[in-house]
Symmetry: C2
Subunit: 490 residues, 2 copies
Amino acid sequence: MMSAYDELMAFQRETEALAQIAGRLGWDQETMMPRGAAEQRGEEMAAIEGVLHARRTDPRLADWLEEAEPEDDEAQAQLRLIRRSYDRATKIPAELAQALARVTSTAQGIWAEARAAENVADFLPTLAEVIDLKREEAAALAQGGDLYDALMDDYEPGATAEIAAAMFDRMRPRLVRLREAVLAAPAPAPLNHHFGENAQLRFARDLAARFGYDFTRGRLDLAVHPFSSGSANDVRITTRVVETDPFNCFYSTIHEVGHACYELGIDPDYLFTPLGAGVSMGVHESQSRIYENQLGRSPAFTGWMFRQMLDRFGDFGVTSPEDFARIVNRVQPGFIRTEADEVHYNLHVMMRFDLERALIRGDLQVGDLEAAWNDRFLADFGVAVDRPANGMLQDVHWSCGLFGYFPTYTMGNVYAGCLHQALRAAVPDLDAQLAQGELGAATGWLRENVQRHGGLYTPGAVIAKACGFEPTEAPLLDYLDAKFGALYGL
Amino acid sequence: MMSAYDELMAFQRETEALAQIAGRLGWDQETMMPRGAAEQRGEEMAAIEGVLHARRTDPRLADWLEEAEPEDDEAQAQLRLIRRSYDRATKIPAELAQALARVTSTAQGIWAEARAAENVADFLPTLAEVIDLKREEAAALAQGGDLYDALMDDYEPGATAEIAAAMFDRMRPRLVRLREAVLAAPAPAPLNHHFGENAQLRFARDLAARFGYDFTRGRLDLAVHPFSSGSANDVRITTRVVETDPFNCFYSTIHEVGHACYELGIDPDYLFTPLGAGVSMGVHESQSRIYENQLGRSPAFTGWMFRQMLDRFGDFGVTSPEDFARIVNRVQPGFIRTEADEVHYNLHVMMRFDLERALIRGDLQVGDLEAAWNDRFLADFGVAVDRPANGMLQDVHWSCGLFGYFPTYTMGNVYAGCLHQALRAAVPDLDAQLAQGELGAATGWLRENVQRHGGLYTPGAVIAKACGFEPTEAPLLDYLDAKFGALYGL
């Protein structure tokens, strides 16, 4: 006779295996699927999502959760995560979940067309519908609490908008000050060279392996938007190639390797359990960002990379490792968040956060969103938005209903700043290693202190445990000041 | 209020969508999956097969089938196929289904290792276990009837071993006579040239398109064993490349295009219904074989192909279209079924059929199988088997539990012979078209008369309807005598 806990975990294991399948279909859709299959795939995805929803709200879960007696901390953590998922899933009425799935699925197409046509008006009715449904969902989840917090909790368990807002308010003045100082300094000349696709992809593969990506448990393909997908022993990544800008490919790859190594690095005992996946979007982003920025864009590592690129691409018009480091770390006030440098990136996120929080709280109406976006962008970045694709139509998130997701990007950067400080203390000769293109000590430390735990600890706890101190924004800001101060001779 | 029929079809639609997902995972496993993911994938496949089994034996199906009132012939056919699937699924005890899934999954690995080691003894205990379980399954399905028929019915509904055996007995003497006559004639010199992988794949893609494969609803990748996978608007094929033997790649591709075009050609209204897939393995094979052989290996078409290959590969040592046709249609008594020419192919199948029928009936013990195989091979092919990988370890089928599948290969060839006769009558200038590399009239006729019907008619009925006569082996045998007689000047 199986215990309630064992029965629960056996059931959960199948659910997690089915969820992996759904993820694999998502990967296929972005990389391999023939375009004529799109409609059929929509129905296939709906079928498996229906199976998953039924399992996640299966009434037997309530009984098992009631009766299960955890024997250790891990079992306790498994139950906590299953209960959390069950509570969230059962609070949302089935009709609402279906309406959201339907609307967000068509909304993405409408958003893409509106963006291509630079036509905000075409997108607004759909966006209004998405927001109404998300508010309804938030109300069901919040049960009297803050609507935005209820949504944010899905991506960053335990986080609240109030705490995030306070932190962002402390960060903004220092970021603005740094931005102004850097922009006042002479800018490096941009690259002016053609970097062949195959050579870029070869180097991207080598970089991925060097950062610890295990190609026997993953693969690298091309996709329009880089992403990482899957857990445990099948974690696939994608990248893209712009022949005039090789850093797009290289740093997208390293970023996704960070995400992938988190999943690949989780304790194998957690396979197909709630502990067997990254604990939150913020912690996930901390891994992708520390791989990409604190490690990959460090002047020590770019020195190695400069020599590699000379070997692989010949003379490409950059003559010193110092100039190369400045080009890799170019600071400029662009419109697009995903292309932003380390100094500007979090300013983009903070703006999204304030706008979407106001939308969900009902303080901002969808018809006023474009003006609010453009006013705020001018104030924060000193540049007027020239067209909607560079403004409020640039991100897919809202069309997918991803309200509450944006702040986790900056929380991830803050976590990365903390981990970087602790890593430097743990690996005193890190720069000497990076200068040789050696990442093993750094990625090993991250695997041991963050990645292997999967969902065992809460997001804040896993970072605090790894660092030996409670996470704050100070290490990130200190790091940015020091790095860009040195690069730009401030 | 939905009718019972509509409820049933809505339920079935989701089941079919989930089955497509399982098929897509199978494709991924053979083409894209990183090797480290194999174990995890096994568990994912088990999870989705569990979901499918639960749906296929869902007790509500019995109620809906009882109450549903079909309004037309199509609805009638849908109900017939759902009832058939439900009856089969519910007759097999869940423990037996699980035992079979478990044993056949490990048996494939054991078979592959035994084949690599040329060690029959290592495979026999597992094979015995598979046969015991298949006999148990057959008994559950047959309910007093013939065990082998019960298994065969899964692949070729309505077929019986007795009818197949009688037909094979009529075919054998003529095939043996033809074989002896051809082998007595001078054989063409084999190719002796190197054909680059990329150029082979480019031509394979062009051939696929020429035979009507729609790349917007499919894709062509490399795999160890060529296969076709999927239905409706996502039907993917694979091929392989041997640099000394380009016909391996080209004719594998055309063969799989035949399978794929069947699925792609089915009436789109049947999407995600039982009618939306090929009706049987035999009819499926009729499409792959007529594309590959009666069309692709016809001297008219190889004349076009010869010119193409000269353009693409330069001089490769063949000087006339007549020699080229003889090389494409080389007849030789090889050990391996999948590499056999049109004259020998069905002799391989007949041997497998007799052996596996005896195994399932209990007339042949697994310990005597190798001797029985080798004796029979010597008698039928005039050559002694030199090693197990060229003998009873060559095919994966038995390790997968695919007993009853082999005869459908020859039934498919027989159907292809009938369809070819009818096609020649319908398209009198077929050879003139083939000589120009034009396949549109031929593949259009097949789509219109066979492919679009999907599962609407029984296998025999769809062929009879297309041909205007009941299928028999005579057209195939006449075609082989005429074709090889002309090629070899008999």
